[in-house]
């Protein structure tokens, strides 16, 4: 890390540094793009993990998180601007493609516009929305933004600010769809978008020419809500983000807070958390199997996936008391001890599932039609996966070993033995198989832990009011769909100053357009299904 600091300061002497678990570099905006270029090309920080928009009162800006996929070293960069009326920063979409959606998100929430970003439209909110909700001076009066029942205007063009070679800024408009194009809305209410994602798709016959992704149809403003809640209160939102990885999401929030407080949580809680995380992953992948097969038209497979998922839900229900939103992890441990039947039930399930998986493979995987629908469809190269930030099982299917459990182990993942499933084909079939194999790997992890859960406390005694020391904290866990990052900036209060959830699913839709181009509508559905995004997670 010192090494990185040296290299950066030798390249850019005016950069200032804050040491922490992740090195933070502050640069003025004028130098930011140069530094970005240096980070990307010379230091090989090829994976842009997150862009966190910030409003610090006087200044506004962004905190960027980067990872080098070669050695998993991390660095963060802080860029700010004092102009609150017309904040401008330089875009990095030319270096990291994932910045395309992240920067639009920052624009949507903070009104910071990015120079050279091709498409400065709102991402989550209506295009006639007044104000930028995550600014601290946002006018939350419902009169300003009433519920509108008229549809928002169709925008076939985007705005962009372009820097000309001589350093002047110019407003431009880019065309998304020409008037004569055949544009179909797939979603928001569509059986195969897994929720309310809207894909404006330009078609040429059956062939997809271009996709424009519209998010925000279930944007619930969780990040803003968190700013007025105490830390334990923020936890319950985590369950409702990506409800298919409720436990892991909550794990991420807990980890981030526990890290900041430097808590050592009891071993029993660690064991249970790891097991629960893996059970959640299995349940999520079973749901993936169910819905993916349904998208491809194999309806019966849907019922098989759901049938076996119910067994996990039974286990969860006994211990947590709920089928979906568990509220089980808490800061410093768990809400309650495990149910006496927990170990027996989990072991039974681990013995039961592999046999069922064989059934799944005979029913669906081995089917000629299924194979033809999946193989060679929706190719994503490793470079693209990294650039678009498509991590998680979808990234591993493209040959990118991006498992947070391996790269930055948390809980007990450094003590259990498991394989990171990586395939190199990068097509729909690979993404499907990675998930199916991960189920087996998760069972393997659970089997190592289930008999050894130590006795003892399941939670630390915590004070009723938790205050985090000042600073910025960022933690990731491997959720079912990829790395879920939690960013907290604390100013020492009992409320977070800023809590940002770095969704695992948002980058996935960023890669939809290049993957689907030239494919058929049916391929689009298959690719969407194989990416397995959950909309409330990306919309937050």
């Amino acid at each position: 890390m010192a090494n990185i600091q040296q290299e950066i300061s030798s390249f850019l002497p005016e950069a200032t540094f804050v040491e922490g678990t992740i090195l933070e570099v502050s640069v003025p905006d004028a130098k930011w793009h140069d530094l970005a270029l240096y980070l990307h090309d010379k230091l090989h920080f090829d994976y842009l993990v997150s862009i966190v928009g910030m409003d610090w009162g006087e200044t506004m800006g962004c905190v960027y998180y980067f990872t080098c996929t070669a050695d998993n070293s991390q660095v963060s960069v802080k860029v700010e601007t004092a102009d609150r009326e017309n904040p401008l920063l330089h875009s990095v979409t030319d270096l990291w493609k994932s910045a395309y959606l992240y920067e639009r998100e920052v624009y949507d929430f903070y009104g910071i516009r990015f120079i050279n970003h091709p498409d400065m439209r709102r991402l989550f909110l209506r295009n006639d929305w007044v104000g930028y909700p995550l600014r601290k001076d946002y006018n939350a009066d419902p009169e300003v933004n009433p519920i509108r029942l008229e549809h928002e205007a169709v925008d076939d063009t985007t705005h962009a600010i372009v820097e000309t070679p001589d350093g002047k800024l110019e407003e431009r408009t880019n065309t998304i769809f020409a008037p004569e194009e055949f544009v179909v809305n797939i979603g928001p209410q569509h059986p195969a978008t897994h929720g309310v994602l809207r894909l404006r798709t330009s078609l040429d016959g059956e062939i997809v020419k271009k996709i424009d992704v519209y998010c925000g149809y279930v944007h619930r403003g969780i990040e803003k809500l968190c700013e007025s809640l105490t830390y334990p209160q923020t936890l319950h939102f985590a369950d409702r983000l990506d409800y298919m990885s409720a436990q892991q999401n909550r794990h991420a929030v807990c980890l981030c807070i526990e890290d900041a407080l430097r808590l050592e949580i009891p071993a029993r809680a660690q064991y249970v958390r790891t097991i629960m995380d893996e059970l959640m992953r299995i349940s999520s992948h079973l749901l993936f199997y169910a819905t993916f097969c349904m998208d491809l038209g194999a309806t019966t497979a849907f019922f098989y996936g759901f049938r076996d998922r119910e067994k996990i839900l039974d286990i969860f229900e006994e211990t947590c008391g709920a089928r979906m939103t568990f509220n089980y992890y808490t800061i410093g441990g768990l809400m309650a001890d495990i149910h006496p039947d927990f170990q027996r039930k989990v072991k039974e399930f681990c013995a039961y599932l592999p046999g069922m998986l064989k059934d799944y493979h005979t029913l669906f995987t081995g089917n000629v039609i299924a194979q033809q629908r999946m193989k060679g469809v929706g190719l994503l190269s490793r470079e693209d996966a990294i650039s678009y930030g498509i991590a998680g099982p979808s990234g591993r299917a493209s040959g990118w070993a991006c498992d947070v459990r391996k790269n930055h182990p948390y809980a007990l993942y450094d003590q259990v033995e498991f394989k990171e499933i990586v395939r190199t084909e990068g097509d729909v079939f690979a993404r499907y198989m990675v998930r199916m194999d991960e189920i087996l790997e998760s069972i393997h992890i659970i089997e190592q832990l289930i008999d050894n859960i130590p006795e003892g406390d399941y939670a630390l005694k915590m004070k009723p009011i938790i205050k985090l020391p000042e600073g910025r904290y960022f933690r990731q866990v491997e959720a079912s769909r990829g790395p879920l990052g939690i960013f907290i900036e604390s100013h020492g209060d009992k409320y977070p100053y800023r809590l940002k959830i770095n969704s695992a699913c948002l980058p996935l839709v960023g890669g939809l357009d290049p993957m689907c181009r030239g494919g058929k509508i049916a391929d689009l559905i298959a690719i969407g299904g194989s990416l397995d995004y959950v909309i409330p997670d990306m919309d937050r």
């Binding site: 059986p191 059956e206 038209g297 019922f303 098989y304 039609i369 033809q372 509508i521 559905i525």
Partner: protein, 359 residues
Amino acid sequence: MLFDFSIVTHWIDNLLRSVMPGWGALLVEFVLVGVALLLLYAVLALFYIYFERKVCAFFQCRLGPNRVGPYGIFQSVADMFKILIKELISLNHIDKFLFNLAPYLVIVASMLAFGCLPFGKGLQVIDFNIGVFFLIAVSSIGVLGILLAGWSSHNKFTLIGAIRSGAQMVSYELSIGLSVLTMVVFAGTMSITGIVEAQNNGWFIFTGHIPAIVAFLIYLVAGTAETNRGPFDLPEAESELTAGYHTEYSGIHFGFFYLAEYLNLFIVSGVASLLFLGGWMPLHIPGWEGFNYVMDCIPSVLWFFGKAIVISFIIIWFKWSFPRLRIDQLLRLEWKYLLPLNLINLFVMVLIVIYGLHF
């Protein structure tokens, strides 16, 4: 040996003629035929809706409908009541004439094909001497209905659905035509009665060697595609085109498509049983007189419906097990595999017939 239903029809005919003039009797008979056909049509459609739901529930470890009546047998009746009183939405910007014409085409096509089926010995409404040919011809009118439905709705999803159905039906029509042709070569007649009678000494699928079996399989695949059922349900691919070509149809308008879909399933299975499994002809094995006698005791109607339902079961089985094909795969399957195979199969059948190699 088998009960001949023409005795009944003749008896009714004579009875009517004895009480009224010839044209009156004829008129009454026509009305009777119409009513009987209508009833059978409706009952079969309801039965098939229920049948499919129960069968798929069985595949999917579920119970299926079980609340309405014993074992839920009135479920489809309730559905029909509901559909009948649903609103018929009047849409803007559509081609009203074609939009309203489409359900007529779909229903009339299936009704005409339905009328050609021999339900039992002497129990057949239309018996042209070119019966099979006529059957293929009328069933292809249904395609037109679907095409018009999708196009006239002025909706992008239905348009894609209609275009898909056009490509699909047009292609698979060919396979059906050729596999039927193979059997016509074998039977030497196009009359439906003739074909059934020709199977007195064994069903074609047994007597026709391998070409008959191949033709049967091709017919099953193409028939499934013709009825828009999974894995060939592209025109109404739920996960791609929401509801496909009938997205904009509401109430009973949609009900017609729903009804015709199931009726077409029956017609396809009926034709398969007619061409390959002897229609209403009981299972006869030459030389086994006792066995044949026992088989003859089962009414011909039961034979026909039994065979049709067994084949329908297989087609339903397809639907609930296989994922959907993509449009290019669908066409490739037809033009690059089924069509050449069909032509070769036809050739082999011709040789068999000419040289008398069959049983």
